[in-house]
C-alpha cells in the first residue's frame, strides 16, 4: 500500500449546546498521513485547537474498531463517510487526497437532538428497546442451551439482524428520519428465534408505538438506510417488521 500525506480543509459543525444555534467553521490540517483513521485526523485537529487556546471539537467515539456504535459523523453528505459498510472510526484517510475539503456534520434528525458540536442524543433508541426489544426471561430460568434446536438458516438470519450496532446512521441518512431499519432488525432477530415466540406480537406493537412517540418518521422504501448501514443490515428486516406488525395487528383483540 502506497502511503502519502495530505493537507486538508475541514468544515465542521460547531454548536455550543442544545439551545444555541450552530454553524460550520473552517479549519486547516496539514501533513495528514494516509494511514491515519478519520478520528485520528480529528485528534490531530483537536490537539492543534487546544494548543491555539481554542475549544476542541466534541465528537462521540469509543471502541474505534467499528463495533460500539458510538461514532457518528456525517461526512461529505454521507453517514460515516464514503466507504461502504463502514463506521467513521474505521474510515481511513487514504479515502481522501491532498487538497480535499471535507464537510463534517452531526446526525440530523428530530429524534436525535444535538448535544454539542457533533455529539447527538440517541437515548430514543434505548427507549425503543425498553418498549419490547428483549425476551422476558429472568436469570436462572433457562433450559439447556441445546434443548431447542434452531434451524441454521434462521439462526444465521437472526445473527445478521442482531449485528446492528445502534449507531443511528439509518435514521440520519433517511429523508424521513425513520428508525424502521433499527426496529426491524431487533424485531426480526427475536421473531426468527423460537425463544422470541411468546412475546412476538406485543413486542412489535409496542416497539413501533414507541418509535412513533419518539418522533421518528415513516419508511417510504428508498433503501438509503441499507446503503449507509455500516453493518449491512438488510431492508428485508423492514419487510419482516411490516409483516409482523400486520399479523400482530390482525390477531390482537385490543387493536
Amino acid at each position: 500500500m502506497e502511503h502519502y500525506t495530505m493537507n486538508l480543509t475541514l468544515k465542521v459543525w460547531r454548536q455550543k449546546n442544545k439551545k444555541t444555534a450552530g454553524k460550520l467553521e473552517s479549519y486547516k490540517v496539514e501533513n495528514i498521513s494516509s494511514e491515519m483513521s478519520f478520528l485520528e485526523m480529528f485528534d490531530v485537529l483537536n490537539e492543534q485547537l487546544i494548543i491555539e487556546g481554542k475549544e476542541p471539537i466534541a465528537f462521540d467515539h469509543d471502541c474505534r474498531e467499528g463495533i460500539c456504535g458510538m461514532c457518528s459523523m456525517y461526512i461529505n453528505g454521507q453517514a460515516h463517510g464514503p466507504w461502504q459498510q463502514n463506521t467513521t472510526c474505521q474510515l481511513h484517510m487514504r479515502a481522501f487526497k491532498d487538497g480535499d475539503t471535507i464537510v463534517v456534520e452531526p446526525w440530523r434528525s428530530a429524534a436525535f437532538p444535538v448535544v454539542k458540536d457533533l455529539v447527538v442524543d440517541r437515548s430514543s433508541f434505548d427507549r425503543i428497546i425498553q418498549a419490547g426489544g428483549y425476551i422476558s426471561v429472568n436469570t436462572g430460568n433457562a433450559v439447556d442451551a441445546n434443548a431447542i434446536p434452531i434451524d441454521k438458516k434462521n439462526a444465521d438470519d437472526a445473527f445478521m439482524a442482531a449485528a446492528c450496532i445502534g449507531c443511528g446512521a439509518c435514521v440520519a441518512t433517511c429523508k424521513n428520519g425513520s428508525a424502521m431499519l433499527f426496529v426491524g432488525a431487533k424485531v426480526s432477530q427475536l421473531a426468527l428465534l423460537p425463544q422470541g415466540g411468546p412475546e412476538r406480537e406485543s413486542r412489535v406493537l409496542n416497539m413501533v408505538a414507541q418509535m412513533d412517540v419518539e418522533g421518528f418518521g415513516n419508511c417510504t422504501n428508498t433503501y438509503a438506510c441499507e446503503a449507509e448501514c455500516p453493518k449491512g443490515i438488510s431492508v428485508a428486516n423492514i419487510a419482516r417488521l411490516n409483516s409482523e406488525y400486520l399479523k400482530a395487528g390482525l390477531s390482537t383483540e385490543e387493536n
Partner: protein
C-alpha cells in the same frame, strides 16, 4: 491487616453449592427497600444490574457512554468458554477449572476458579434463552471452536462478534428492568468517588458529563463493574474511554489493589503504523485455530511473503511447542513473537511484526468443501475459491477489519501481527463473595483481580463477567444486605456526602485552573511509553526503578503544566480525560512497584532475571505463591499478602511442549 478470602470450607466441588445452601437471604419486601449502585454496564455490570433488578432490588446503573450498550465488552470477538462438553471431547467442569488455574500460571485462587467453571454452563443456557444468536451446526445445535491453552473445543461464539451479542443480550435484560422500573439508568455519567459512612460504602459522587454537574447517589451497596486498566499503556485494544478511575477512587478509599502488574499482552493485534496511532486493534485469538504463525528463516528477508518458499519459513510456535503449536496461551505466544522480532526476524516496514498465514487453511477447507459436495478433479483455483468462502463465514468480519485498517487483503497476503496490551488480570482485591476490603463495596468482572491469575485464557473474560453478574453477585450480595435491612435510606445531605462532593469539586477546580502548556493527550502518551518500555512484555529491576522515578516526575509535571480548555460545568471531554489520565499516572507507579516486588516470572509478568535456559518464564513458588494486595496510605503503599493454597491443581512448571 490479615486478608481473609472467605473461601467456604469443604471439598472443592461442593463449596459453591454449600455456600448457596447456607447463605443469608433477603425477603422480597425488604429487597424493595434496598438500593444498589452499579458502576459500568459491560457484561459484568449489565448482567448484575439486570439480575438484581429481577430479584427486586432498587438498582441505579451508571455508564460514561451515551448508552449502556456501548461498553467495551461489546468489542470482544472470539468467544465464551463453557464446560458443556457438547463435543464429547472429554471436557468437564474439572477440566475447565484445571485449564484456567494452569493457564493462569498458578496465581489464581482455586475456590473462585472452580465456581467459575461450575456456573459457566448456566451462562450459555441463559444467553440462548435471551435470544443470543450463537453459531449453530446444520442440525440446529450449538457450534464450538478451540481457543488457546486448551485441548478441547469448549468455546461458543457468534462469528467474530461474540462480545457484541452477549452484551446486547445483557443490555436487553437491563433495559427490560429499566422499563419495569427496577433499574434507573444514568448514561453519560462518570463515578468520581465512593462515599463511605462508618467504614461502609454508602454511595458515590457522579458527574453528569453533559452538564458537568456533580450528583450524590446513595446505595446500601456499591458494585464496581468498570472494566480493566489497559489504557495505562496509552496504546491498547481497549476503547478510548476505558479507564481505571472508578476502581482507583475505590482504592484510595481503602480497597486494596490486587496484582496490579499482571497485564495481558495479546499476541495477535494489528501492528503500530505510526506516531498518530490512537489505539490498537485486536485480531481474535480464534484466528490461531486455523492460521499459522511464521517469520522468514533468514534475518531481514525483504521478499514478498508469497515468494518465500515453505522450507525458508520458520513456524516458530509449531517448532517450539509441538503439543499446542499455534494454540499456546497468550503470554507464551506474545513472548515468542517478541523474541523473533528482537532477534531481527521481524517483517513489515517497522520489522516489529510476524505473519499470520491462512494459505494452508484455505486449501484445507476448500478440499473439505469439495469432498462434501462430491465435486471431483477441481483445480487449485476452484479449491481455493471454496476454501475462501469457508474462511469468510468463520472469520469474515475480522478479515474485513484488517483490510480496512491496513489496506491489504488477508485472503491473498498473510496478515502482519504483533502483541498489544489487551486485558488486565490485576484489579481490586476481592474475597470469594466479590467484596473488596471496604464493606459494601464489590468489584465484578475485569475490575477485580480474582480468577485469571497471571495470565487469562482466551474466551474466559466474557465467561467471568457474566458469571459474576448473573450467577455470583445475586447470592453473595444478599449475604451482606441481609444485615442491612434495618439501614434506612441515608440522605445525600449527610456530612459524608457533602464532604466527598467537596473533595471531588476541589480536584476538578484544581485541574481546570492549572492552565499549563501541555495537552492531556501528550501526558498520556508519555506515560504509555514509559509503561510499555519498562513494564511491558519484559521487565527488569533497573528498568522498573527508572520507570518509578520517571512516573513520579511525570505526575509532578502533569499537576503543574497540563492544559485543559473550557469549563467544569459543561460538556468537556478534555476535562473528563484529564481526570482519567491523572489516575492512570498514579496506577502506573503502583504497577511498577508491584512488578519490582515480584522477582519471579509468571504468566504475563516476565522478569528477565527469572527465566529458564530456553527463555521460558520461571516461577518461584517458594517465595511468590501469593496475591500481592496493595493498601494505599499517606506514605504510598503497603503490601499485604494473601497466600495461595493449591489443594487440587498442584503447581508444576507450565509446559505446552
Amino acid at each position: 491487616m490479615a486478608l481473609n478470602a472467605n473461601i467456604p470450607p469443604g471439598e472443592m466441588d461442593k463449596k459453591w453449592n454449600d455456600y448457596k445452601g447456607h447463605v443469608k437471604l433477603v425477603n422480597p419486601a425488604n429487597k424493595r427497600k434496598l438500593e444498589v449502585i452499579v458502576v459500568g454496564t459491560g457484561l459484568a455490570g449489565a448482567s448484575a444490574a439486570a439480575a438484581l433488578g429481577e430479584l427486586g432490588y432498587k438498582v441505579k446503573a451508571f455508564c460514561f457512554q451515551d448508552s449502556p450498550r456501548r461498553a467495551h465488552s461489546i468489542a470482544a470477538q472470539g468467544g465464551i468458554n463453557a464446560a458443556k462438553n457438547y463435543q464429547n471431547d472429554g471436557d468437564s467442569v474439572f477440566r475447565l477449572f484445571y485449564d484456567t488455574v494452569k493457564g493462569g500460571d498458578y496465581r489464581a485462587r482455586e475456590g473462585n476458579v472452580h465456581r467459575l467453571a461450575e456456573v459457566s454452563t448456566s451462562i450459555i443456557d441463559q444467553c440462548v434463552a435471551q435470544g443470543v444468536p450463537f453459531a449453530r451446526e446444520y442440525g440446529g445445535l450449538l457450534s464450538n471452536r478451540s481457543f488457546g491453552g486448551t485441548q478441547v473445543q469448549r468455546t461458543f461464539y457468534a462469528a467474530g462478534q461474540t462480545g457484541q451479542q452477549l452484551l446486547l443480550g445483557a443490555y436487553s435484560a437491563l433495559e427490560r428492568q429499566v422499563a419495569l422500573g427496577n433499574v434507573t439508568m444514568y448514561a453519560r455519567h462518570e463515578m468520581l468517588d465512593v462515599v463511605k459512612i462508618d467504614g461502609k460504602a454508602r454511595g458515590i459522587i457522579a458527574r453528569d458529563l453533559i452538564s458537568g454537574n456533580l450528583e450524590k447517589h446513595f446505595g446500601h451497596a456499591v458494585l464496581l463493574c468498570s472494566g480493566g486498566y489497559g489504557n495505562v499503556f496509552y496504546l491498547s485494544t481497549n476503547a478510548m474511554g476505558s479507564n481505571v478511575t472508578a476502581a482507583w477512587k475505590a482504592h484510595k478509599k481503602g480497597a486494596f489493589f490486587g496484582n496490579p502488574c499482571f497485564t495481558q499482552i495479546h499476541p495477535t493485534c494489528i501492528p503500530v503504523s505510526g506516531d498518530h496511532q490512537s489505539k490498537l486493534t485486536l485480531m481474535s485469538e480464534s484466528l490461531r485455530n486455523d492460521g499459522r504463525i511464521w517469520v522468514p528463516k533468514q534475518k531481514g528477508d525483504q521478499r514478498n511473503p508469497k515468494d518465500i518458499p515453505e522450507d525458508e519459513r520458520d513456524y516458530y510456535l509449531e517448532r517450539r511447542y509441538p503439543a499446542f503449536g499455534n494454540l499456546v496461551p497468550r503470554d507464551v505466544a506474545s513472548r515468542a513473537a517478541k523474541e523473533r522480532c528482537d532477534e531481527g526476524y521481524g517483517v513489515g516496514t517497522t520489522k516489529m511484526a510476524v505473519y499470520l498465514d491462512y494459505k494452508d487453511a484455505i486449501i484445507r477447507y476448500g478440499k473439505i468443501e469439495a469432498g462434501k459436495t462430491g465435486l471431483k478433479n477441481l483445480d487449485d483455483e476452484a479449491i481455493i475459491k471454496l476454501g475462501k468462502e469457508v474462511v469468510q463465514e468463520k472469520y469474515g468480519n475480522l478479515f474485513e477489519m484488517y483490510e480496512k485498517i491496513t489496506g491489504e487483503n488477508p485472503y491473498e497476503i498473510p496478515m502482519r501481527i504483533y502483541p498489544a496490551v489487551h486485558y488486565t488480570m490485576g484489579g481490586l482485591w476481592v474475597d470469594y463473595e466479590l467484596q473488596t476490603t471496604v464493606p459494601g463495596l464489590y468489584a465484578l468482572g475485569e475490575a477485580n483481580f480474582s480468577d485469571h491469575g497471571a495470565n487469562r485464557l482466551g474466551a474466559s473474560a466474557l465467561m467471568q463477567g457474566l458469571a459474576d453478574g448473573y450467577f455470583v453477585i445475586p447470592y453473595t450480595l444478599g449475604n451482606y444486605l441481609a444485615e442491612e435491612i434495618r439501614t434506612t435510606t441515608i440522605s445525600t445531605d449527610h456530612e459524608a456526602f457533602l464532604q466527598t462532593e467537596k473533595e471531588v469539586n476541589a480536584r476538578l477546580t484544581k485541574l481546570i485552573s492549572i492552565k499549563g502548556t501541555q495537552t492531556v493527550e501528550s501526558f498520556h502518551k508519555r506515560l504509555g511509553k514509559i509503561m510499555w518500555d519498562k513494564c511491558g512484555m519484559a521487565r527488569n529491576e533497573k528498568g522498573l526503578k527508572e520507570a518509578i522515578h520517571e512516573i513520579q516526575q511525570l505526575k509532578l509535571e502533569f499537576w503543574n503544566n497540563v492544559k485543559i480548555p473550557g469549563e467544569i460545568n459543561e460538556f468537556n471531554t478534555e476535562l473528563d480525560k484529564a481526570g482519567r489520565v491523572a489516575d492512570f499516572i498514579e496506577l502506573g507507579e503502583l504497577m511498577c512497584i508491584d512488578a519490582l516486588n515480584r522477582k519471579e516470572s509468571c504468566g504475563g509478568h516476565f522478569r528477565e532475571e527469572s527465566q529458564t535456559e530456553d527463555g521460558e518464564a520461571k516461577r518461584d513458588d517458594e517465595n511468590f505463591s501469593y496475591v500481592a494486595a496493595w493498601e494505599n496510605n499517606e506514605e504510598g503503599w503497603t503490601l499485604h499478602k494473601e497466600d495461595l493454597h493449591f489443594e487440587i491443581v498442584k503447581p508444576t512448571q507450565r509446559s505446552y511442549k
